[in-house]
Subunit: 488 residues, 2 copies
Amino acid sequence: MFSLPITLTHARDRPYKQQIARQIETLICSGRLQDGNRLPSITRLASLLQVSKNTVLGAYELLIDSNLIHSEPSRGYFVTPRHGRNGKRAIPDFVLDAPAGFSTRSVNRARASGVHVPPPSLPVRFDFKVGRPSVHAFPLRAFIHLSNQLLRHAGAAMADYTPPEGLWGLRLQIADYLSGSKGIKADPEHIIITAGTQEALSLIASHFLDRHAGAVHESPGYTGFYRLLDRHQAQAYPVPVDEHGLRTDLLPEHPVQLAFVTPSHQYPLGHTMSTARRQELLEWASRKGALIIEDDYDGDFCYGPALPAPLAAMSPRQVIYLGSFSKTLGPGLRLGYMVCPPALTPGLIARKALLNNGSPWLTQAVLARYFDEYDYTRHLQTVRRRYLEQRNTLIQGLKQIWPGSQSISGENAGMHLALRLPGHGPDAAAVANAALRRGIRLYPLDQAASAEIEPSVSRHLLFGYARLDSADIRQALRLLSLTLSRLY
Amino acid sequence: MFSLPITLTHARDRPYKQQIARQIETLICSGRLQDGNRLPSITRLASLLQVSKNTVLGAYELLIDSNLIHSEPSRGYFVTPRHGRNGKRAIPDFVLDAPAGFSTRSVNRARASGVHVPPPSLPVRFDFKVGRPSVHAFPLRAFIHLSNQLLRHAGAAMADYTPPEGLWGLRLQIADYLSGSKGIKADPEHIIITAGTQEALSLIASHFLDRHAGAVHESPGYTGFYRLLDRHQAQAYPVPVDEHGLRTDLLPEHPVQLAFVTPSHQYPLGHTMSTARRQELLEWASRKGALIIEDDYDGDFCYGPALPAPLAAMSPRQVIYLGSFSKTLGPGLRLGYMVCPPALTPGLIARKALLNNGSPWLTQAVLARYFDEYDYTRHLQTVRRRYLEQRNTLIQGLKQIWPGSQSISGENAGMHLALRLPGHGPDAAAVANAALRRGIRLYPLDQAASAEIEPSVSRHLLFGYARLDSADIRQALRLLSLTLSRLY
């Protein structure tokens, strides 16, 4: 059944194919046509609109050129999922002029924080993208219920600026959560709500870094921090990691302002930093007067023995602790938080005010009330059970493909693991390319992280296992196994 | 009727007064107790909870100390409105340590973008704050309807990062609006969604400014831009304004990267820049190779003759145009946009990605659909009629208080006007102080704007008239008139 509201009008300067394309574009962009929806066949739409098949074909071709729809052989035309689109406008009816640097755009974007990966060159059926939660992780019904409750009386809240540091109620709930789950005794006063971890890093970078500053980061490590160092022209000191986390014996003796670490689940290799290393890091930072950034991006999920105490619990005055709801609820929310050493809080709140005057009211208010009326910890447990099962399926499959000779790291926490390929045979890029031809997207480490001084980098693949369910993971690995049997 | 769920438990280290205070705090912070709600009397709560009156009094005192509630003589205890709170935690049961610089906090915050004003020292009944829309301006019912529609299928959207440049559907709608209402022919491709104008300015500043850069800004002018220059250690060139807008004859001959202007309704004096001045500014910028930032923060409301064509319509390659939904819908949304010259778009999108990976999905999706299913232009007209009436009431009242000898500027557009006090008599600060003692908050220009080189600055008062309805404005001005009769 096709009942899309498309109206054609006679106009000399507006060919039918453009009118059709423009209206379908609006239907897609406004959400009436959803990702993966099938469009009517050319014959059917031509007959409905009483135009020639060539006109409809022309319209569909405009939309295909814009990556808004795609055709699947012998199945028909489908709306392309949002993340597969490159955003190019369908009908350039009022383009000012073609931007000179247009072709550099996806490069530019991928060079930013690293979370927006360039669209794949081939259609993807199974995507092992790192850092995406399951679509079932978001508590939709609770959020609908609470949004309704809150919006009814939102006139006054919408008519004013939110406090730059975030809503008090949400900060209070986060303090309670951190105290109960992580042993971090933070006063809500020193918690600042941000639009996710990346915004927290931007605030910290603009507050502490200039061209004379130095900062330690893990290598391989999170691109979003490394790029900020680059932008601020700060001196970057990459420090390698091993299975106990950051190699504290290789910390620099130069003056350094910041040290960025991911102790719960090192990004990207997934090691958990040992308590001994944590102590050594704190001692080093204390000698240097350096501030530690503890990015606990996905440490809310743990499958093995309990994680050691966070650095922020061991020495709150030395550490800015970063938490995020992107992994536990969803990155579409754009909410995270930073727990600041008390003396640094006022300055960082002023930074946040100068940056964007605070985060949106509604999502903060809904989330605060969600904490109050629902059980966030139980939500995490439910999601954790799901991820545990998916992780086990993945590990089992990987061990069948590479029996004995691979090595897996990072499987005890978070939402992804790293696979080190055997020393012989194709490298990570070759495996990923072969997989992509079968519709499986894999992520070689050097595409998903900054990696300056890691020699074995070309042999690591990252597998995010949160978004695909166990059946998908099994199917993807079966396909992958078939594909690889030809490579080895 | 008092039916708040407060439960007391015996615990040696948790006195009842702390338990009561903590639970009332949670009720306030989670929104169950709303701004202005009356709390039960001490006698009543003591009898309900079966504790002594001293215990309840102790709890209330803790909450008063935290600015969460306040007492009104012979009326009782009330929840303090959010913006009156300083955010100090009620019960410091796990405070780490007292931050040394705590007292500098409100100063720091006010020193940021200027939109968060320090709380008043006395209770305020009529607040003429600039830049706050009416609480009736936000289309609540439409947003509730659309949020419900969209959240039902939001699992996938919440589970992924939004595009850093914003949702395509929203950018398309903004392009259509700008084309129809402002004559700006922008391709959606070159529109970037931001968390309001301040975020756009932050992005621009971090993209173009360093310690060797120079930037022109209006004086008096918008604090949020001036502070960014300061943070980036860029050279600021303040240029005066008159009734035709920026004094283009006084533009500097030094090398300059950016020029920030508010041509529709100069902030804070409210003049509209003449077409001749616009041309002169564009010619100057062209000679200098400078980029113009056109901040159209409240130009969607116009009460006199139509505004001249925006600079971005006259010369799109030279201008970044900034628009905001903070004034037309509400600042609680945290949504605005920038229209970029095509060649600069990719770089600025990468900046936005590095800053915070994009704006939240839901508010963008709701707004895109709001444009699609409702009539934004008609919404603006409805709000405009309301503001016109309030503006007329305000002007009439001001002319009665200062017949003949005052001068009013900025009344032809926007949501505030500026009053220049007569040359004799008390200055703006004295009038504002006298008014505050009667519960009327007025804003001397030098508290609400950066003003380096304006000699008459101490005689200007700003009046935001969007938030108070006509009856309130009339009553406030009657009170003000009585108060001032003693000053003159």
